[in-house]
């Protein structure tokens, strides 16, 4: 794996670092009903392909990023975020550079995490539990009846032989 330290200062001589654009999510605000989202970005056309750009991705609960949290730093151009709790999240990404200064931030993308309704969850969970119990009971009861039937059949056969 390539470490961050190896990538320092790769943009010398190319001028201002390019500004990433969002590929995913393709809409903002984006509704993430399972608490997960693929964040993927690309650089504008014309960016030097040979330069191994390094990116910084920030997450915040406020649209103005007053308390940002670093979500990813590295050369990948995507990250899959999971396990988000209910709420609104804001993301922005930029090219990192220690020589030319960091690039400008991308547009902010908003992700809203809204799970399915509790009523639906409770209803379906109860149905699931009921079907599970019925399935297990039916199989075990059916199996026991078959064993009893086999046993009585065996006794009958033995009685007949005697």
């Amino acid at each position: 794996m390539l470490g961050i330290g190896l990538m320092a200062g790769p943009y010398q001589g190319i001028g201002e670092p390019p500004v990433p654009r969002w590929v995913s999510p393709n809409e903002s605000p984006y509704l993430a009903d399972e608490g997960k989202v693929l964040l993927e970005w690309q650089l504008p056309e014309g960016s030097p392909a040979s330069v191994p750009f390094q990116f910084q991705l920030e997450q915040s609960l406020q649209p103005d990023f007053t308390e940002p949290a670093m979500r990813y730093e590295g050369i990948d151009r995507a990250t899959f975020v999971t396990g988000l709790a209910k709420g609104n999240y804001y993301y922005r990404v930029r090219v990192l550079s220690d020589s030319e200064g960091s690039g400008a931030w991308s547009k902010v993308v908003e992700v809203n995490v809204e799970f399915v309704s509790t009523t639906l969850v409770v209803t379906l969970f109860s149905i699931g539990l009921g079907v599970f119990v019925m399935t297990v009971v039916s199989i075990l009861k059916g199996h026991r009846n078959c064993l009893q039937h086999q046993e009585s059949q065996r006794k009958q056969d033995e009685g007949g032989q005697l």
Binding site: I4, E34, T79, T82, F115, I127, T135, V136, S138
Partner: protein
């Protein structure tokens, strides 16, 4: 943070492993296949499989590439409940233990699950059942071929199309030569490798990261994963369980094993294999949960398990993961190829189209069917379809077959109309739920609807099915 853009094994190492193991499986397949002198031997391994081989084949078949890939995905996306949800698929094997005893009692000379449905419920239910099982089997095959290609690419950089082609080619060849003898024999070796590999990788990841570190990282970055009331995860628990029930109860992969094992062996073998299988998704899932603590950037959730394992264990670990993945792929693809071709030859060829009941001709048709299935799978895999989409779309279909199978095996009053309506309405409403509510509700709703219809039809029915109609006609 570590990046996901690089692979850990050189493609040449990957190719070397593929060729070595591929040649090994083919060689063993040909060696064991020499015992398949009759069509019965080719299809059902002479109906004489013992406890060790029986347990190993059931477990290895159920540890698919989907287990290696999707169990970590479940953990990564749904956390603790996701891991447990995936493990509930083992309940299918546990409950199939008593069902297999009943199957062997009712149709000791049976060949396929289709045989049972045809004799128990008649032609309409049989045709419907065949559609469901063929759609599902193809979805399973394609999802594994796709998973295999992607995994090999992630691990070693072998281009997707080349890796997927090689896996399918090896499995088709040794299944072709050895039939179920080859499948069960290779399954035994593959199950040992899988068990050792998963336990070793899981333990080493745990040793390297530690539970506290993983928990703390999740608590900060992925809080929902440890939320006991995460809605999607709660729903996926029963959804996945019923999907698993449907897969095992209806599919010929499991029925053919029930027919192939000795009568007293089948229930014990399925039960033990279920117990052995239960911890595997939990071990695989834990590997995925530790991604955040290890600072690994995940881009494609489908490859998180191998990515973390390879990252933690280095080159040797990557080789180990590669071998485990190849074994899990082969152990399932070969089983599906054999069982689905049996179903097509026996039910469609012989019973539906009236193919000649002649040993040589049936064996030739069977081999052609295996080749055709392999080719069709390759064509579909070449399109790189979405894994979860492919697999979970077939969930409501198979879940609708749970109750027709249970009712048909145990209750005299279970009837054709009830079984047909249960499968049709259960599948349709399940598919609607898939698109309207989410994939995590589809199998659950399908199973619930199917169960309700079967129970109502049994309550209103005056049917008094004579079990002898199955055993006398069969074989």
């Amino acid at each position: 943070m570590e990046n996901a853009s690089t692979t850990l094994l050189h493609p040449n190492v990957g190719w070397l492993l593929l060729v070595l193991f591929g040649a090994g499986w083919i060689g063993l397949g040909i060696f064991w296949g020499r015992r398949a002198k009759s069509f019965d031997g080719f299809m059902l391994a002479g109906r004489n499989v013992g406890m060790a081989l029986g347990t190993a084949t059931a477990m290895a078949t159920w540890v698919t590439s989907n287990t290696v890939m999707l169990a970590p995905v479940f953990a990564l996306e749904k956390g603790i409940w996701g891991m447990i949800a995936y493990s509930t698929a083992s309940f299918g094997l546990l409950l199939f233990a008593p069902l297999s005893a009943r199957i062997r009692q009712l149709i000791p000379k049976g060949y396929t699950s289709g045989d049972f449905i045809r004799l128990r419920y008649g032609r309409l239910a049989w045709v419907l059942f065949l559609i469901i099982t063929i759609v599902y089997s193809m979805a399973w095959l394609v999802s594994m071929g796709t998973a295999g290609g992607k995994l090999l690419q992630t691990l070693s950089g072998i281009p997707y199309i080349n890796g997927m082609t090689m896996i399918l080619f090896v499995c088709v060849v040794y299944t072709l030569f050895g039939g179920l003898y080859a499948v069960i024999g290779t399954d035994f070796i593959q199950s040992v490798i899988i068990l050792i590999g998963v336990v070793l990788v899981g333990s080493l990841v745990l040793f390297k990261t530690g539970l506290t570190q993983v928990y703390q990282s999740i608590e900060i970055h992925q809080p929902s994963l440890i939320n006991a009331l995460m809605p999607v995860a709660l729903l996926s628990l029963f959804n996945n369980m019923f999907f698993g029930f449907g897969e095992v109860f209806h599919n010929n992969v499991w029925w053919s094993r029930a027919f192939a094992m000795r009568k007293d062996v089948a229930p014990r073998a399925f039960f033990v294999s279920g117990l052995l299988w239960f911890p595997i998704p939990i071990a695989a899932g834990f590997i995925a949960l530790s991604a955040s603590a290890l600072g690994i950037n995940v881009i494609d959730p489908n490859t998180v398990g191998p990515l973390v394992a390879s990252s933690v264990l280095g080159k040797t670990g990557a080789i180990l993961v590669f071998i485990v993945v190849f074994c899990s792929l082969a152990s399932s693809i070969d089983s599906l190829l054999a069982a689905t071709s049996d179903l097509l030859v026996e039910d469609v060829g012989k019973k539906m189209l009236g193919a000649k009941d002649n040993e040589q001709s049936l064996r030739r048709i069977s081999k052609l069917t295996i080749c055709a299935l392999g080719l069709l799978t390759w064509i579909l895999c070449a399109r790189e379809m979405n894994l979860l989409e492919i697999l979970f779309l077939s969930g409501p279909l198979v879940a609708s077959a749970i109750w027709p199978v249970i009712g048909g095996l145990y209750w005299k009053r279970a009837n054709s109309m009830g079984a047909v309506l249960a499968m049709v309405i259960g599948s349709i409403i399940g598919l609607v739920a898939y698109y309207q509510l989410g994939w995590y509700t589809a199998s659950l709703i399908s199973a619930a609807i199917s169960m309700s219809i079967m129970l109502l039809s049994i309550l209103w029915s005056r049917n008094d099915f004579d079990w002898k109609r199955i055993s006398e006609t069969n074989g």
